[in-house]
């Protein structure tokens, strides 16, 4: 077998590719993510489209060399804009063979995926490990992986006695050689990564990086070139690279909010980590509350006092916050709640990617609790939508829920760097005198909107209450007041809906199949639709941002297609499963809403595998449904 022989890299002519998917997989704590993020930044700086996604074990210190402990990163780089993690990887650097098993189980590789594998295990003092290693390599090859066994650690030992530190930069050097990356850009990125650790540490990491480049040049027979995006895509634009949670944090700052009140929960917390580090630059403060309930109540206190606050959480946190959310609706308190969705209660797999909280976000509260709910579909939107959320919250005197998910939270991508504007910032709080004849809920009966007195306004004194109340905020036990209050709070959503534009269809405005998505699946759905369209199929897609109120014109758009279906990452019954009939089938969450909203027989396809949807997977589903439509003809 050709690939079993030691490789001798003397290739000088790089093969030009349009895109590649690279993974670095290691035990936890070996720095694979740092190497991959640096590699992604280098690619972005060189003008590539990039998407990086972290591979995170559920445990903090899982045992070494275990499939469950696989920790690492995937980098998809291309000569065009990249919007999702893609399908199977093309090249993998693995620090040991065991961690590859978890990736194989996730379908991350295909026949022909190149594996650059640390070979020190072949000579391990423990016979058990030597056996495991040899068996695995044989198994991988039998399954079509192209395994290059490489003395990576030995290469590191030539530079440092402790290869655990710096091995990741050695691997970064290897990748930078293989993908013809600019070494100066890479070294600048390394210096930036370690800027807080001092010049000595930067110097050692630069040495490791150079050694890795030489090593790949001498020992690996691979040399690729992935040209930058077209100048048109890049021209005149400045880009920034963040993940979605950092983008949320930047959005909070850009919105001029001064307080984030939170309680730690995966995968939401890293947004607050970022803010804890940077918020003071714009005069803000992160309050880590004693629990999820206190986190939202504290935010409501600040909002009530005129400083609209933000609370950031994930599904179980939302469940704990529901009563306060209902209070915010009832008492018309502005609030921004960012919900970084996941899969369910507890920990472990439920902390992974899922769009599981849409219905809970819309209907989780006791009684009627109309509020604004919208979802970001890209990392860039994570930033901009927080700014929109604060403005909506204040203009409509209501809590606003912004939904993202673990896929956006940890994915990284270059996007246009916005130019901060003073218009984004919250205005200074109004302390002017309040006309005492105007009640604290001076509802415009057409829109439900009303101005809000803020503590400190002379004449504005009123007692906010979570109870049913009159326009004077007096506790009401009479039927008419309760009906009127409910009308007014609901009316606001209709008023907002009147300002929204109908969504744009991606692809032809009519045809056989329309795929409707929401949230982080945008990139994967559109890539799958584009593939199917290139193959001649009549399929389009539509991606919703607003979910409460719904964007206008959906029924009219849906009627232009023979079939409408949603693609989502939350649970629905497979219609072919035992006992599942038209009567018993439980639909995916957006499908459920759209069926009620449009009275159209919207179908769905959804899975809960704990990872982002991939374009290849969706493409296959579209073809099946298109096939079925043909069969119906």
């Amino acid at each position: 077998m050709e690939d079993a022989t030691p490789t001798t890299g003397r290739i000088t002519q790089a093969q030009t590719l349009h895109e590649h998917i690279v993974e670095i997989v290691s035990d936890s704590g070996e720095g694979a993510q740092k190497a991959g993020q640096t590699f992604g930044s280098v690619c972005a700086k060189m003008g590539n489209g990039v998407w990086t996604v972290e591979i995170i074990p559920a445990e903090i210190q899982p045992p070494a060399r275990s499939p469950a402990g696989a920790s690492g990163i995937r980098i998809r780089l291309a000569s065009h804009n990249v919007t999702n993690m893609g399908d199977e990887a093309d090249l993998v650097v693995a620090f040991n063979e065991q961690v590859l098993y978890s990736r194989i189980a996730n379908g991350a590789y295909k026949a022909g995926t190149v594996v650059l594998l640390e070979d020190k295990w072949r000579e391990d003092p423990q016979e058990e490990i030597r056996k495991q290693y040899a068996n695995s390599v044989a198994e991988f090859r039998a399954n079509g992986l192209i395994v290059h066994e490489l003395p990576i650690e030995k290469g590191c030992l030539e530079i440092t006695p402790n290869p655990r530190r710096g091995k990741n930069m050695f691997v970064l050097g290897m990748l930078c050689h293989i993908y013809s990356r600019d070494a100066d850009i890479a070294k600048a990125e390394i210096a930036n990564t370690f800027r807080r650790k001092g010049d000595k540490v930067i110097g050692i990491n630069h040495q490791m990086f150079d050694a890795g480049r030489r090593f790949a040049e001498e020992q690996v027979d691979l040399l690729y070139e992935i040209p930058a995006r077209s100048p048109g895509e890049l021209e005149g634009k400045r880009f920034m690279v963040t993940n979605g949670n950092t983008a949320v944090g930047l959005g909070v700052m850009a919105a001029g909010m001064e307080l984030v009140s939170m309680y730690p929960i995966t995968p939401a917390t890293s947004a607050s980590h970022y803010l804890a580090d940077a918020f003071h630059q714009v005069g803000g403060f992160v309050h880590q509350a004693e629990d999820e309930i206190a986190a939202i109540a504290f935010a409501l206190g600040s909002s009530y006092a005129g400083k609209t606050a933000c609370t950031i959480t994930s599904g179980p946190g939302l469940a704990l916050k529901t009563e306060n959310l209902a209070l915010a609706v009832m008492a018309e308190i502005p609030l921004v709640l960012v919900l970084v969705q996941r899969g369910g209660p507890s920990t472990g797999l439920p902390t992974k990617v899922e769009q599981g909280d849409l219905l809970a976000a819309l209907y989780g509260e006791p009684g009627d609790a109309p509020k604004v709910v919208f979802a970001a579909a890209t990392i860039e939107e994570c930033l901009h939508y927080v700014i929109v959320a604060r403005r909506l919250a204040e203009a409509f005197r209501t809590p606003v829920l912004l939904l993202t998910d673990a896929n956006l939270a940890t994915g990284q991508q270059p996007y246009a760097r916005p130019q901060p504007s003073v218009d984004w910032l919250a205005p200074p709080i109004d302390q002017s005198e309040w006309d005492e004849t105007i009640p604290p809920f001076h509802w415009d009966e057409t829109t439900g909107l009303s101005p809000r007195p803020i503590p400190g306004m002379p004449g504005g004194e009123y007692v906010l209450t979570g109870l049913a109340h009159t326009d004077r905020s007096k506790v009401a036990y009479d039927s008419e007041s309760n009906q009127l209050g409910c009308n007014m709070r609901s009316r606001k959503l209709a008023a907002l809906a009147g300002t929204l534009k109908p969504p744009e269809v991606h692809g032809d405005p009519q045809g056989d199949l329309l795929v409707v998505g929401w949230g982080s699946t945008l990139g994967a759905i559109e890539e799958a639709v584009d593939r199917a369209r290139a193959e001649g199929h009549s399929v389009s897609s539509l991606h919703l941002r607003f979910l409460s109120p719904m964007e206008p014109g959906l029924k009219e758009i849906f009627q232009r297609f023979r079939k409408v279906m949603t693609v989502e990452i939350n649970y629905s019954d497979d219609p072919t499963a035992p006992l599942i009939t038209e009567e018993t089938r439980r639909y995916a969450q957006l499908a459920w809403l759209l069926r009620a909203h449009t009275l159209i027989d919207v179908d769905c396809w959804s899975v809960v595998l704990g990872h982002p949807l991939q374009p290849g997977m969706i493409h296959g589903v579209l073809l099946q449904h298109l096939q079925k439509l043909k069969g119906d003809d």
């Binding site: 700086k45 400045r238 880009f239 920034m240 690279v241 963040t242 950092t246 930047l250 700052m253 001029g256 001064e258 307080l259 009140s261 940077a278 003071h280 630059q281 714009v282 005069g283 403060f285 309050h287 509350a289 004693e290 629990d291 309930i293 206190a294 986190a295 109540a297 504290f298 935010a299 409501l300 206190g301 600040s302 909002s303 009530y304 006092a305 005129g306 400083k307 606050a309 009563e323 306060n324 209070l327 760097r417 916005p418 901060p420 003073v422 910032l425 007195p453 503590p455 400190g456 002379p458 004449g459 504005g460 004194e461 009123y462 007692v463 906010l464 209450t465 979570g466 109870l467 506790v475």
Partner: protein, 317 residues
């Protein structure tokens, strides 16, 4: 050279507030309920201290006690059961200039709101925390509260409360950064007024437990407490609550107690054979969380934009 008369004799109409400026809706507590006296004391104190009504916020949870904001003429926040404290802390976090009063009860604070009570004491934000403790759930009609004494008959324990009551004083005195702990009984209006005045003047979270009467659901409990004036122990000290002759006559059972002495305060709190009233503990200089949480509130839009540019630059490629 001294200007005309009009320059120096301009009349400045200072705002002067009367009790009426602090009065809201008519109080709807039951006749004989101890809550009425607390409301009166708070309104009188605000008047005496001339606090601007628009700068005052009364925050409450749910329960009889939590009706208080509705009877005030100030701003108010009548929120959720158990959640008055995090709301009050949030109000204070970015608006430290507001004068915040919290009205809560034994169920609201010591049961459903326990976590917030513990942590609010630790945050020590400047507010008066009044716990109206009548040892019973009143609004939901006579269920056992965390401070209902063992054996007290209620609708949830018709044969008598089956576990011993919680001791809110020992708990509060055990919390890190506790800065002000006082107790008073509602049937001594002058002492109640003085305790609230000291609490309001203290910078930090002033925990005031008001042992208070529910004549509808806990009459026997009150009768037992009021049966002998010696059931109450009046704490006296130069640094404590000023005691006038009438109060001294009302509570003949007295002892000296230095409110700086935490360990002695804990001993007094531990002894449940009497109801100590007065100032148990006072630490005037404990750090207040709003000094941290409100930082940066002065920033101009230009400064914020500069900070934002720097934040974006850190990720710009």
């Amino acid at each position: 050279m001294f200007g005309t008369k009009a320059d120096w004799s301009l009349e400045v109409f200072e705002r002067y507030f009367t009790i009426g400026d602090y009065a809201g809706g008519e109080a709807r507590w039951c006749p004989g309920c101890g809550d009425h006296g607390v409301l009166t004391a708070v309104q009188k104190l605000l008047r005496d201290e001339q606090i601007m009504p628009e700068m005052t916020v009364a925050v409450s949870g749910i329960g009889c006690s939590s009706r208080l904001p509705h009877y005030m003429g100030t701003f108010g926040f009548h929120g959720l059961h158990g959640r008055a404290l995090p709301v009050a802390c949030g109000i204070k976090s970015r608006r430290p200039e507001l004068d915040v009063w919290v009205a809560t009860g034994d169920g609201d604070c010591f049961s459903i709101g326990t976590a917030h009570w513990i942590h609010a004491i630790r945050y020590n934000m400047d507010m008066v925390l009044m716990v109206f403790d009548n040892a019973i759930y009143g609004l939901t009609k006579a269920q056992t509260s965390p401070t209902s004494p063992l054996g007290m008959k209620t609708n949830t324990h018709p044969f008598g409360a089956i576990i011993a009551n919680h001791n809110p004083l020992t708990v509060t005195l055990g919390i890190t950064n506790v800065s002000f702990v006082a107790q008073v009984v509602d049937w001594s209006p002058p002492l109640l007024y003085e305790v609230l005045k000291a609490a309001h003047r203290h910078r930090g979270t002033s925990f005031v437990r008001i042992v208070q009467r529910c004549p509808v659901y806990a009459e026997a409990h009150i009768k037992q407490m009021q049966s002998d004036p010696n059931n109450v122990l009046l704490l006296k000290h130069a640094d404590g609550i000023p005691v006038d002759k009438a109060v001294a006559r009302q509570f003949p059972n007295q002892r000296e107690h230095d409110p700086a002495d935490l360990s002695s305060a804990r001993d007094i709190a531990q002894d449940e054979s009497v109801i100590p009233v007065g100032l148990l503990y006072h630490k005037p200089d404990a750090p207040c969380y709003e000094d941290l949480s409100s930082q940066g509130g002065y920033m101009t839009a230009e400064e914020k934009l500069a900070g934002l540019e720097a934040a974006f630059d850190a990720f710009t490629i």
